[in-house]
């Protein structure tokens, strides 16, 4: 349905825009109905930029994004409007998504004016009611209120309800959970699961691996704009192969396991872990210690539905003996 094909984003940086910074490099993946894809990465990985490009909030420097076969960068006027009727985004900070001067439900009115100008009041009210019900909000509690009178979770769910009014096909959810409290977090995640079963394709952008793991079928791990590992979620998390993925998994604080145990199990190499005896410890983030992937590195399919980035030399090796690799690390190892 939505196809991201070798997309690259280059930003001009520096005082006079003389330098270039590649935020996203050669990223390709598809989004299908009823599928949640997690884009996971740390800051600067380009995960948000990918989302912004899909929403046309940023232009594409190379490659293409096509929706039902149409390149979205060519869309204009009416066609663009109908694209937005299918593809919508919800962003990290619910408080800054609203204009504090107006009541929060103004976002609904704007949708009505733009997309349903002819709809009768009664019809609109029942549509709005259904949409609010889908995100488990009580209309009495949330309508006719200013943003500061509502909680972050309520505001976030209002934004999802706003997107649902349009009968969308694809939702870009950019870090929508991070601002929420633990006890309401899971409700929003479950809501996404619910929407997925209704046939919505969701791009779930997050830095939190456990959230991505909970909800998604497919996982894309991004680092410095490059995909380092991608595939079915249980394969990426069950059999992490790229050193960066392993490092990420080893640094996520887990509720029932300590960092050392996880590191040992994943066989994260010692130089990535901090040597406890060294007098001078390095407190750089491990992501900075790990050498970046070379630009000529390639993605290799190590098992079905699981690709990993290797340097050209390693890739040649892998191509020769794929069977060996499989034996060494059994796929879909049960964890947690």
């Amino acid at each position: 349905m939505l196809k991201i094909d070798r997309v690259t984003k280059v930003y001009k940086v520096g005082t006079f825009g003389g330098d270039e910074m590649t935020a996203v490099r050669d990223v390709s993946f598809d989004v299908n109905p009823g599928e949640v894809i997690s884009l996971i990465g740390e800051s600067g990985s380009g995960k948000t930029t990918v989302g912004r490009m899909i929403l046309r909030l940023a232009s594409v420097s190379g490659g293409s994004i096509t929706y039902n076969g149409v390149d979205i960068s060519t869309l204009k006027g009416r066609k663009l409007k109908s694209y937005y009727a299918d593809v919508q985004g919800v962003f990290q900070d619910p408080f800054s998504s609203y204009n504090p001067i107006f009541k929060a439900d103004r976002v609904f009115k704007m949708i009505k004016d733009a997309y349903f100008p002819g709809m009768s009041k009664a019809e609109w009210r029942s549509k709005l009611g259904a949409s609010l019900e889908a995100v488990t909000l009580d209309p009495v509690q949330v309508l006719n209120k200013f943003p500061h009178q509502l909680s972050g979770g309520q505001l976030q769910r209002l934004l999802i309800a706003r997107a649902l009014l349009l009968d969308i096909r694809i939702l870009i959810a950019d870090e929508i959970i991070s601002m929420l409290d633990a006890s309401t977090r899971i409700d929003v995640l479950n809501l996404l699961g619910e929407l997925k079963s209704r046939g919505l394709g969701i791009i779930f952008i997050t830095h939190d691996l456990s959230l991505g793991n909970y909800i998604s079928e497919k996982t894309v791990i991004l680092r410095r704009g490059l995909i380092v590992e991608m595939g079915a979620t249980e394969k990426v998390f069950g059999n992490p192969t790229h050193p960066y993925t392993k490092m990420l998994l080893a640094s996520v604080p887990q509720l029932h396991r300590k960092w050392d145990e996880v590191a040992k199990e994943l066989e994260v190499s010692d130089d990535l872990l901090i040597d406890p005896d060294a007098a001078k410890r390095v407190y750089e983030s491990v992501g900075e210690i790990l050498a970046p992937d070379a630009l000529d590195s390639v993605l290799v399919e190590t098992e079905s539905d699981h690709v990993v980035r290797y340097s050209p030399e390693e890739a040649k090796e892998k191509m020769k003996s794929p069977a060996k690799e499989k034996k060494k690390s059994p796929p879909a190892r049960k964890r947690g």
Binding site: S183, I186, N190, S210, Y214, P253, R281, V286
Partner: protein
């Protein structure tokens, strides 16, 4: 016992009345203990952290006492408290990355801060550079402006600076929440290292993230709506919580390996009560599946097992 807090009440002044953000908390932190302070936003955890070092204008001291190393902390007295700030009690602010003065070089800023406490900067400089080196910063940073440092470097510089006078109690307020997972791990391990090396005697780590506390804290104190809910060793809180709120909270946290398709987690229905006119009795009773008649009275925070304190009528 390094820190002893007795029935502390701190309210926020608003036009509509007092918000009872911290309503009678009693607990202690032992020497060398890293205590995690966890809870949802608005539960009073930051209020508790801040009130031990600096009561801002909106905060009103109502009742209770705080003792640090057997000395009374005059938390309600802005000026008296100055003798303790930084030397005895120190804080790593929530936004450590923006805590540095952009118009001063790091060294000059450190000099100003340290001399304001009546300590000679030049005599402490060797120790300062040694500690910077320990966290992977060369003494070049002293001659740099804060905008020349990366986020992680700023965070480390602030951490060294806040603990330079070996405070007895360090308050770390949500210092890991804005960081990437790998930086988060480094910072969290650094806190433990500072304790192990004796730079700080005991520590209060305020965060909403229980999983990070499980990695570094010795004990965890869970707060709910201005009251204490439960305190116990970190392992006990994670694996055998006894307060219904802690139990529901922990069972609602997604983990690596738990998926929506296989095991659907549930949140806690409802929202925390407003603290302007809080309900009487147990403040969790509206959301609690175990609530019964007795819950209209406030449950005491008592020791049900060795070192395990719970405020719930069902556990008494």
């Amino acid at each position: 016992m390094s820190l002893r807090v007795e029935n502390l009440k701190v309210y926020y002044r608003t036009l509509a009345g007092d918000v009872q953000a911290l309503d009678g908390v009693t607990f202690g932190i032992a020497d060398g203990e890293i205590m995690g302070l966890a809870g949802e936003s608005g539960c009073g955890k930051s209020t508790l952290g801040n009130s031990l070092i600096y009561l801002s204008g909106r905060m009103k001291y109502v009742d209770g006492s705080v003792e640090l190393d057997n000395k009374e902390l005059p938390i309600a007295d802005m000026h008296e408290m100055d003798r303790f700030r930084y030397k005895e009690v120190s804080i790593i602010p929530q936004y450590a990355m923006s805590a540095l003065n952009p118009t001063r070089k790091i060294g000059k800023m450190a000099k100003e801060i340290i001399e304001s406490r009546g300590v000679d900067y030049h005599s402490i400089l060797p120790e300062f550079t040694r500690r910077l080196e320990l966290v992977g910063l060369s003494d070049d940073v002293l001659r740099m402006f804060s905008l020349e440092l990366s986020g992680g470097m700023k965070q480390r510089a602030v951490m060294v600076l806040s603990t330079l006078l070996n405070p007895s109690l360090l308050i770390a307020d949500e210092i890991t929440s804005a960081l990437d997972v790998s930086t988060q791990k480094a910072v969290a391990e650094m806190l433990v290292e500072f304790r192990d090396r004796g730079f700080v005697k005991s520590m209060m780590v305020v965060t909403h993230d229980l999983s990070i506390l499980h990695q570094i804290a010795d004990t965890i104190l869970v707060m709910y709506a201005g009251h204490l809910a439960e305190k116990a060793a970190a392992e006990v809180i994670i694996n055998n919580p006894r307060h219904p709120y802690t139990r529901l909270l922990i069972s609602s946290l997604p983990e690596v390996g738990v998926t929506y398709a296989k095991k659907r987690l549930t949140g806690i229905a409802g929202t925390p009560p407003a603290l302007l006119h809080p309900p009487t009795g147990c403040r969790f009773k509206e959301r609690c599946p175990l609530a019964f008649e007795k819950c209209v009275e406030q449950p005491p925070f008592i020791e049900v097992d060795k070192g395990h304190f719970v405020a719930c009528w069902k556990e008494i």
